[in-house]
Each structure stands twice: as C-alpha cells, then as structure tokens.
Symmetry: D2
Amino acid sequence: MRIEQYQIDQHNDSLLSRHNNHFIFAKEQLAEQGINADDVVKALADFQVAIPSWALGTGGTRFGRFSGVGEPRSLEEKIEDVGLLHALNRSSGSISLHIPWDIPGQAQSIMDLASSVNLKFDAVNSNTFQDQKDQEQSYKFGSLSHVDPKVRKQAVEHNIEVIKYGKELGSKALSIWLSDGSCFPGQSNFVKSFQNTLESLQEIYAALPEDWKVYVEYKAYEPNFYSTVIQDWGSSLLFCQKLGPKADVLVDLGHHLPNANIEQIVATLMMEGRLAGFHFNDSKYGDDDLTVGSIRPYMLFLIFVELVEGMKRAGRASDTYAWMIDASHNVKDPLEDLLQSVEAILLAYAQSLIVDRKKLEQARNENDVVLAQQILQNAFRTDVRPLVRESMRLAGGALDPIALFRNLSVRTELMNERGGLTVATGL
Amino acid sequence: MRIEQYQIDQHNDSLLSRHNNHFIFAKEQLAEQGINADDVVKALADFQVAIPSWALGTGGTRFGRFSGVGEPRSLEEKIEDVGLLHALNRSSGSISLHIPWDIPGQAQSIMDLASSVNLKFDAVNSNTFQDQKDQEQSYKFGSLSHVDPKVRKQAVEHNIEVIKYGKELGSKALSIWLSDGSCFPGQSNFVKSFQNTLESLQEIYAALPEDWKVYVEYKAYEPNFYSTVIQDWGSSLLFCQKLGPKADVLVDLGHHLPNANIEQIVATLMMEGRLAGFHFNDSKYGDDDLTVGSIRPYMLFLIFVELVEGMKRAGRASDTYAWMIDASHNVKDPLEDLLQSVEAILLAYAQSLIVDRKKLEQARNENDVVLAQQILQNAFRTDVRPLVRESMRLAGGALDPIALFRNLSVRTELMNERGGLTVATGL
Amino acid sequence: MRIEQYQIDQHNDSLLSRHNNHFIFAKEQLAEQGINADDVVKALADFQVAIPSWALGTGGTRFGRFSGVGEPRSLEEKIEDVGLLHALNRSSGSISLHIPWDIPGQAQSIMDLASSVNLKFDAVNSNTFQDQKDQEQSYKFGSLSHVDPKVRKQAVEHNIEVIKYGKELGSKALSIWLSDGSCFPGQSNFVKSFQNTLESLQEIYAALPEDWKVYVEYKAYEPNFYSTVIQDWGSSLLFCQKLGPKADVLVDLGHHLPNANIEQIVATLMMEGRLAGFHFNDSKYGDDDLTVGSIRPYMLFLIFVELVEGMKRAGRASDTYAWMIDASHNVKDPLEDLLQSVEAILLAYAQSLIVDRKKLEQARNENDVVLAQQILQNAFRTDVRPLVRESMRLAGGALDPIALFRNLSVRTELMNERGGLTVATGL
Amino acid sequence: MRIEQYQIDQHNDSLLSRHNNHFIFAKEQLAEQGINADDVVKALADFQVAIPSWALGTGGTRFGRFSGVGEPRSLEEKIEDVGLLHALNRSSGSISLHIPWDIPGQAQSIMDLASSVNLKFDAVNSNTFQDQKDQEQSYKFGSLSHVDPKVRKQAVEHNIEVIKYGKELGSKALSIWLSDGSCFPGQSNFVKSFQNTLESLQEIYAALPEDWKVYVEYKAYEPNFYSTVIQDWGSSLLFCQKLGPKADVLVDLGHHLPNANIEQIVATLMMEGRLAGFHFNDSKYGDDDLTVGSIRPYMLFLIFVELVEGMKRAGRASDTYAWMIDASHNVKDPLEDLLQSVEAILLAYAQSLIVDRKKLEQARNENDVVLAQQILQNAFRTDVRPLVRESMRLAGGALDPIALFRNLSVRTELMNERGGLTVATGL
C-alpha cells in the first residue's frame, strides 16, 4: 500500500484554515521574542529519524506477546511500512536494519524499493544476543566477551558480515549493542570480559570501511541481571578511546540506572566529540521502551537543549548524528506509536530551538537560577505544535498524520494485503 | 512592605495588550474543542495554595546553608512575606504555621495582621523531629513511637499544644509529619513502633476539636536511613483507618521511593475518601524539595488529572483539600521560588481542567491507548499560561508576578527593613 | 529417574566425619550463647519450600531464551523433578501448579505419583496474563480489571476452574498474580480498574471452598510499564480487607520499587494477620528472579528475623504460611538453581532462629543501636551451614545436595530419558 | 585518655581460651580447603584504615542533629580519639584531616602527638562546599567550577593551602570532593562547568609535590539535586586522564545511583590503574553514610573480591591505596560506630582472601555459574571473625574492641575530661 500525495493534500486542505490560524499566532508569539519561526520550521524539516526494522511489529515481554494484525512479513513489507510513515510525516526518511532478521536478498532491488519511497539505509545492527538456528556456537554465556575464543570469533565474523550487508545498501555505520554480562556475582571476571570484548571490537573495527563508524551502545542491565560488560557511558567511552576515532558512543534513553542525569551525559559526550547519536524511547522503571515523550517529556526537552548546543559548538549539522527510535509497541499499533514518537521528538527539538540561549548564558553567568529556569520553561510551555505541523506540511506530509492514518484505514488495508496472523520478526 | 494595587495595575497595563492577544487566542483554541476558557479561569481563581512559614527563608542541606538576605525574623514578617506573594498572585491566600518555630504571642493581633493581607491560617504543623532548648526528653530515638512512654507523652502533649495554637488562629487541621524510624537493622521493633505510634496518635486524635482533621504524612526515608514508621501511603492509610474519620493521608511528592506511580496512589486515596491534600514540590533523586514543576512537570499534570477527577467523583470543591507547597530554597530567592511553584501548580491544574474527559473515557473503553495518550498530551501541550494570567489579573494580581517582584525591588526593600544578616527559622 | 536412599547414604558417609566436626563446633559455639542447636535443626526440618512447576525449565527474557537439556515435558516429569529435589534436600516437599500449563488429566494418578515421591500440592496459580490458543477473549488489555465485562467474566471463570483443579489435588489456596495495568498515562481509569478488579475478585472469593485461602500478590511494574492495578502491599491489603478473612497478601521479593524496606512490610502484614506467604527470589535491578540469596543475603536474613518474630507473636507454625520459590533460571541448571535457593532460605531461617531476641529487645528498649546491630550481625556471621546440613541429613537428605546431583549425573540421566531438545512450559 | 597495654592484655586473657578454640577450628576448616589461616591473619594486620577527623563527632541531617557527649574539641583531641581506636583494633593507624576544620597550629607538636599514639597522616581534604567566616567569595554557586574566575581562584588557593598543611604533616595526597553542580535544569552550562573545573584542577595539580597524588571523588547528587559536575566514575576518570598520572579516582560507596554495580566500577578503575582508594560506608537509599557493612555486607565482600584480585594483578600492596571510613554517626557513639566499621571492612577483606581463586577462574572458564556462585558464597558464609580477632590480638589489640571500650567506660572518661556539651567540628 502507498499513500498518494492527493490523499495527503485533501487531508491538509480540510485542516488548513485552522492550522494557519495557529501557525500565525505561534509565529507572532515567537516574533515578540525575536525568534524567526520559519528558521525553526526549516531546521525541523532537516531532522530525520530512522525507524528500526524491528519496531514495525508488536513487541512483547518475557510474560507474553499479544499480536497485532497486518504486520510486515518481509524486509520488503517493512520498507513499505516505513515508507508509509515517511509519506505521512516526511521525518522518517531512513530505515535501520537488523541482521539476521532482515538479510537483504537482492541488494539492488531492495535499494530500489527503498528509494521509491524516499528512504535511505541508516546504521546496520548486529545481533549476538540470541542464538540463530544452526548456529555453531551459543551466545548463552556471551559473545564478544565470551571466555571461549571460538564463540568470540563467530561473533566477530557475524559483525563483519553485517558490515558487508550494510555496504551493499549504502549504510555508513555499524551499531553494536552487546548484551554480554553476567547474572550472578562470581560468574564473570570483569577485567577479562572487558579485554576479550576490546579485542573482539578491535577486529571488527579493523574491518570497517574507510568512511564508516561503529556505534558502541551501553546498558546498565537486562538481559543480564547482575553485570553488563558495557554498563554505562564511561565504559562505552573507554572502549571508544581504545578503539580509535571511528568509534562513538550511542545513547539509548532507557539504558540507565534510576534517576540518571542523561542530559549531562550527552553534554559530556558531545564535549569529547564522541556522541554517535540516540536511540529514542521513554520509560518509567527500566528499559521500558515506551513511546518517546510519553513519560518524561521535560527530560526529552532538556536532552535536546544539550544536543542543539552541542551541535552548534561542534559546527555539525543534525544529519551528521544517528537519530533512531528504539521502542517496543506492546499495546499500540506500531505505526501509530512511531508517528507519536517522531512527533514527540520534533516537538522537543522545536522547543529547544526557541530557547533564548543568549539570555540563558547571561542568567547563568549571573547565577540567576530563577531566570535560567524560566527561560527553559518558557520554551517548553510554548505550544510548538503548529511549527512541527507546518514543517511536515511544507515537506509534503500530513498536518495530522495519525488522523490520516486512521482515515485511510491503513492498518485494515495492510491486514487485507498481509493477513491477520502475520508476525513481524522483532523483539 | 506592602505592594499597592496601583503598582499592580500599572504593571498589568503595560502587559495587557499582549496578554489579551494571547488570552483571546487561547480562548478560541479551547472553544474549537468545546471548552469554555472562562470556566477554567474561574476554577483557577478558587485554587488557593498555602505557604508554609518555614519556606520563607533560605534552606540548606546537611553540608551547609548559604543564607539569603532580608529574610523574615518573626512570625509577623513571615505573614508580611506571604501577604506579598498573595498580593502578587492572589493564589497564596493562607499560611501554614510550624510550632514551635512560629508560636503566636497575641493570637488576635496575629489574626488581624493576617486578615489585613487577606490571609487565613491553614493546617498547623507539629515538630517532634528536633530537640528544642530546655526540652526534657530528647527525640533522638523517636517521639510518638519512642520506646519510653515519657518521651511519647511529651510528644503527644506537644501535638495537643499545637492544636491549641491552631484553634486560636482559626486553623482546622493538625498536620503530622513523623520522622520516627531507625537508622540500622535491628534498632527498632517494627510492630511495637507501629503500636506505640498508634496509641500516641489516638491520644492526639481524642484531643481534636469537633470540626478538625488530622493529616498523617508518610515518607519513605530521611532523616532515618533504614526504616520510617510511616513509610508509605499504605502505612498512613492503616493508621487513618484505625484512628477514625477525622484522619486523612497527606501526600508529599518527594516522599516516595524511586519511580513510584504517585498519581495512582492519589487516585486510590481519593477513591477511599482519605486524601487530605498535598505537599507540593519536585525532585529528581530523593526528597530534594525543589521548585514545583521544575523537574517532572508531566507527572505533576498527571497527578492533577487524578485530583480533578477525584474531586468531581466525590462532589467536593478544591478548597476542601489542603494544598501546600513544601520546598527548600537553597539557591533561589524564597519568594521568587514560591511564585514559580504556585504558577507551576496552577498551570498543571489548568491543563488538567481542559482534558476532554468524555472522549478520554470513551478511548479507555475502547482500549484506544494511542488516543488516550493523545488526549492527555493535547491538554499538556496547550499553552495555558494566558488562562493562569487572566485568572490572577481578574482577582487583582499581577500578570507577571516575578517581573513585578523584581521591578519593585521587593527583596532589596525587605533587606533594608530587616537587614542582610537575618536568618529565618526553618529547615 | 529416582534417587535411592542408599545413594544418599553413601554420599553422606563420605562426608560425615568432616560434617560431624563442623556440626559439633557449631553446636558448642551456640551452646556458649545459650542456644540449643538441636532445636534449630528441628525447626529447619519443619520448613518446607514449595517448588513452582514453571521453575523446572530454563527461563528467558524478552530478548531470548537459551534452552537447557532434559527439561520436563509433562506434569508427570515436573513432579519427578521436584521429587528429585526433595529426595536430595528433604525441604522441597510440595509443588505449586500453574493452570493452564499443568492441567492434571487424571487427578488420582497425579496425586499417587506425587505421593510416591513424598510431595503435596501447594497453592494453585491462575494465569490471565497470556492468551491461550482458542481463547475467546484476549487479555491484551487486562483480565480481572478489563473494561469489557465479557473479558472479566472469562478471567473469573478461569480462576474458578483453577480452584476446581486444585480441589481435586488437595490444594488449599488459589494464588493470583494479576499483571493487569497500563503502559501509558491515560490508558486506564485507576478507580474503575480497581473496582472492576474488586468485583471480579469477589466472584472468585465466593467460589472458594470453606477451608481455602486466596493469595493476592502485588507488583510494582512489569509487564505493564506505567501502572499496575495491584501495585504495592497497600493495594493488596486494601483488596484483602474488602474481600474478607480468606484473602491474604502474598509477597514476592522482586516486586518492589528500588530500595524498599521489605522486612518492614512483612512485619506490618503479619501484625495485621494478613501475610499469606512468600515468593522467594533475589534481584539487583527489578524483578530479576535470580537465585534466592545470591544478591542480598543480609536482607533475606532480616526478612526472616521478622518472619520468626511474627510467627511467634501469632502463635502460628511455619507450615501455616505459603513459602515458595519463584525464580527464573536463565543461565543455570534449574534443579541446581533450586537447590541453591532452598539452601539459602534455610540458612537465613537458621540465622534468624539463633538471634538472641531477649537481648535484642533489651537493647532496643535502651536505644543501644550498636548492640542491636551487633546481635543481628552475630547471628548472620555465624556459620550455620552445619545446622542446615544436619537437618537435611536427619531427614534422609544429602549433606551436599548439589555435589550428589552432579555425582549422580542427574541431568545427563534426565536428558537421556527425555531428550536434549525438550522445552518445559514456563516463563 | 589512653588505653594501656595491660588493660588490653587483661581483656584478652579473659577471652583467650574461647578465642583459641574458635581460631583453631577456623584454621582447620581453612586447611581442609588448602588455605593457610596465618597468611590471612598476616594480610589483615597490614590493612590499615584511615579515620577522618570529621567522623569523631555526632553527625546530623538537614532536619537536625542530636549531640553526643565527650566529643573532641580540638585537633589534639581528635588525634586522641583515633589513638584510642587504634589502640583497641590496631587497624586504624592513620587520620585524615579536613581543612579548615583541623588546621594544625604547630605541625611538629601535632606530629609528635600523633606519633605517640602510632598514627600517621593520611590524605588531607579540602572544603569548598561551605563558606567559612570572613571568606571573601561565596561557594553558594560552586567553587572550582564557578562562573566567576575570582571564586575559582579562591578555591584553587584553598586547595594549594591544604597541600601546604599536608606537607608539614607528612601526608602524601590531596583528596578533593567537589560538591559543585546545579539544583535546577538550566542553572549550569555543563560543558563550561566541566572546563572551568578542569582548569582549576590543573592549577592544583601543578602545585602537587613530586611524590603526591590527588584523589578525584565523584558523587551522583547531593547537596546539588539536579546535576553534579563530577557525577560518576566516568567523569572522574575523564578528569584524571586529562590531569595526568598523579590523579586517581576515589570511590565512595554511597555516591552512586540506585542499584549501581560498584564492584564492576572498581574492577574497571583498577584495570586502568586509576583507583586511588575508598571511602567506606553503607547505605540503603542515598549517601546515607551508615556504618560499613550494616546494610549490604555481601556487596562489600564482592568489592573486596575485586580489590584483592586487582591488587594482585597490579602487584601492589594494600598500603599503596587509600582506605578510609567516611560515615556519619547520627544515633551511635562515633567511636563505637568506627570500631564496627573497621571490623566489617576486615571481615570482608578476610572473606575475599579465602576465595579459591584458582577454582573460581576454572568455573568461569567453564561457564559453571552455579559453582562460581558457590565458591564466593562459601567464602562469605565462613565465619572469619576468629581470623580478624587473631590478627588484632597479635598486633597488640583487643579481642573484642567494643566490649573493652565499654568496660573501660571510655566515653564517660572522655566526657569527664571534655564535658558533656562539646560539639566536634564536622558534618
């Protein structure tokens, strides 16, 4: 299924008058503060969020999974799904593949398909946290960190194979999330695990094409419940320092201990020139993988405040970082959930763009804590939805993507095409 | 010092035109959704937040305290301070006293003074977590729960004395925060501590005037770092059930374990008809006592969503609950901090008032999780500041209380009157 | 496979001399403190821990599952497994079934089989957190709390059916863990969810046989990541109060927020006469379901200190409570893991039995915190392993159950009988 | 007051027979496992724990402080106190001073006094988290990270002055705990704060004598409740990397987020050759500063398992690290509390020394998780108190330091000398 431009246009027409009122008000309101709304709208249009191939099906927990309907049965259908999202919001212009769940058969035809729905291929993801059928060595007790060199070798080779697939599709980065760790005190020798992992990563690093990056993700716990080899940003950074300039740290919002100040971590990593990008989601308890912005929208905004400042300081454009959603859709339609997530990201980005940074620095320099807070809250409390909508509209997207998704009965259509009992590969 | 009405009017005049634009837009935006902004404005005006007498000075931590200037030196000056706040925002119409820090000498003159600045006396607070000079028994190892009946007796009598002071001033409730607990495993017999506390509370309860309430606060930890006698809402409720209908549970946002779902606790307590009210503040790590809404504004909003629903279900007006700010101002001017807190409370209340509850229930009944989230987020993302400002303005308050506070150099004025080296009694 | 008594005796003979030395030393050491070791040994023998049928296979996480070998393929083989455990440690004399995973075909033959390996049937567990094949209504959005009365009806009937199965096997309790809750703010009406659940539970309660109990378990989060209907002990107790005297609160160690003081919760529930029993496990981050005692053995001991005191105060024997292990064995042989867990429970129980309670109360009454801590630590630091071993030995069990399990190659034997590719029903 | 050797000897004589029985049993028990108890005893004797000067008085919380009696009124009396501890346990042979609370007037006489009670001077500690009387610049908004270079300069100079005092007393390290951070989002520019701090530290580093070290401590939060400049080990390490080889990371057990795996952090820092040492304490909720080993003794043991392995790997003796207790004694006699803490440290050290590391590595290499756990637990469950007692006895200390402390009425004696109303400088 494809959504045609005329369908989007019709939808927009019906909402345009009200939207224009809202946008004009927002524009005037910002102008009063010396901010040009059109600049914000333009910056928003440049911000593209990758969709991971595994987020297109219904997720589950260790207690079970309640399937949805019409889920994609193949890589082609996953590309179709992301194409639908991108048609609606014009902000989801790439897909991030997971190997071995999404091994592309014919690279060229896959690329053509993606291109036909305006998608690029983002970072490719390896998987050494599950055993695949007919796999020789098991990852039950680790992969890149395993005590047995045969297991490490297999895991290294898998990563190198993932690079190969990525090269064929035009990816420029390998993203590694390593679940290695231990479930019980005593199980692991922390130092040997670190060193085994380092050696494995060095072999993978050596296989990176000239213009590639490797993203090293960290996670405090789960699926190992006592220790994780790459447990926090400090560990990730240590690995990257030892690997070299092509290795950067990937931050997943849900991978921290309770109460962590993630925005400060982001600032530090950007200061060191080592932030690869983000896996966006939200959470209340652990790595809950909820819809972005659904629990702690102010924290999301504060993170974007640092991102915007860090990008400016480094003189880097937003498309030189890897932005991706990494969520699990257990009780929502995956596509609707992704639309909500992308919207939340753009809203936080818009809010951070209208922070009066000059006044903020001045307030900081005078230790005027009340004013500094007020400046941030003023941005956060501003209704920036019209800016996000305008940005999507100008790019050819829908003013209200979820409403259109529902009006067009996209899910029913997909179910009709694919059947009700499909199960997408994924978590 | 007093702020005169003409000063407020002048201030408002200068901002009125812009404010009117914003308010009219908000009104139209809400009208599109079938909501009458004037009803919201009216409800906001009825919402009064008590200021505790101990929040008027600079707070500190166990590591030290960095004084501010011009802090109130007496109960009279504390009333003056709250009067200033109320003049500015018309939403802080009562003061909550702490005994023995604020023992009123001449009740009538204190009442006259309060009345002259339009203040009432909210719940009175006892203190058995510190030793006062010349106190016979020490609270080092507890008060109402103490193993020694003499200490319990002293603590009970103190609470009864607090009721007496409260009666003189027209208070209608005694608020008890009990820090009793233990610092080490083994130190306390949990059951005996509970039972001692219950007996003590029963004696206090017996001394309550006919039309009074007693509020039983809970706290997970601090200043005791292993156990607290009233550690959570379940414990508080158990005490209240055993005490009788005059005892209700008081919720302080900072008194929970990490990640607690406080809004659900609120809903449950209201369902049981046992919510006394709130101590508002915000926090990231523990009982940080930060400015309301400065860390987790969305959670504050979700709590208000429950409050509004609970009040409606119970058919109770907002002024039948005890709303109070309980924060510690370590790096901000206390009065500015309180203005920010009251504003944050009113914003969350306004947002919760514009939730489309009919549609929300419908979405819930259809398990339309996407829509339910959208309905809440729509309210939260709406810029309701014009409504709060309009409400204050109509009540005679300032459109921008902090700006006026600064323009009038209130703190400098107070410093001139009181001196720079004053230290308010407080935490 | 069965373990014969002569095999155990041979094993014990080889270790007896060393064991005797250790036991005699322990006995003398305790005698110096006025404690009769034989009394402790006897009390240990009476403490039986139920094994849940789902703990006999390898567990997994949402990221995957790494199977073990020789896992039980049927209820009969699960009983065989627990029989092996009980033969080894004589402390695992009952099995707790999970419906529908373990529907007994012929009750009498199942009972005969269990009886032949000296097992009883503990509480039966219902499951409304997963959808079963051909189930009419889905539990995707809840069961006993569901907005749709048809779903609630189905869930109630399932629970009543579970009671029926339990009656046939001689169980005396229904254990309900309700995963109902919500993943996103707005999704649920907290009060309606509570009331729906209450009504459902009342129907189940009405179907309880005269001499049965229903255990109401609580859990802070997971698999729902925003709210859980029965989120904490306070909620559980509220339900039990409304249900009646046959309803008690079941505590699972892993179901709390970070840093919770669980021992105080236990004490309070016992004070109220509402503790049903325990689901034992251990955890570092969330509901990690690790081996009992593997992470926080001192906390386990402190819990037992309360259990022992509470049982004494209530005049109830240890076998009037429901003790069960509820763990997930992801990287260990499930049977070895369970042997370690039972041992950890008995060690904590033994330590708590040798606490000098008279001196402890005296120290508490004198606020001698140093001494109170010392009394507890003295018990905890004592090596009570000889007592646990002696208790098992006297009951016919092995001095070193895991060593014997390995020496007899039990797992290999089971694999030979059952095959390597079996997968136990379970989590 | 001094404790004479004959008093210790008399005390030991009365306990010797029982102690010998226990020690002989322990020795035999270890011999069965191929461990020489005398080696452990010897290693214990070499382990000296520094006592901070501020831990000798009663601590408090922000809610108040309940004084003890007979607290030291001067640096001389603090040295007297630590001398008493060391006389009793022979394991507290150094004192760590805090400037400006303990400015030594006459360095030589202070050194003579310390020497007379067998004490050395450990790391000296600077304080830029409080304002001192007549201090020109305030640290209300930070010190080494402050936006104002004048404040930074003052803080740098203070640290250099602390080095000067330390040099006079024979110290070899400066210990910096920086409380700098922010209380509210927006207050600080994270990157500028980092860079200001780095510059300040570089100036201090430049002033270090040839053979000195600087210890950089981190803390997640408190007294700042939104962000801390040096928030975790990753931040500390980053500073140390930029400073140079004389800078190492100091770990305080209470300075982490909930559930942190501290033992892994320790292992990583030792792998990098960057562990300075430890501030020992224990906690349940935050930086509770409780008696070492009173809450999580197994975690303490796991940390020592890493320390022992790390020291062995690095070929460094235990006295080349800085071990210190950093606790707050709110409800216990400070000296008794310190005796309990030192005992807990030595017990954990002893347990970690009897871990069968060869078998452990073998179990790890075979992924025998059950056995690996058993090896650690076997060490932890062994009663090593006789080893610690024997070690103290051989060094001339008491078999039961707290009992002797009480028998000799040390506190009463100190109260008689110093008076009941003294207040030690400290937290």
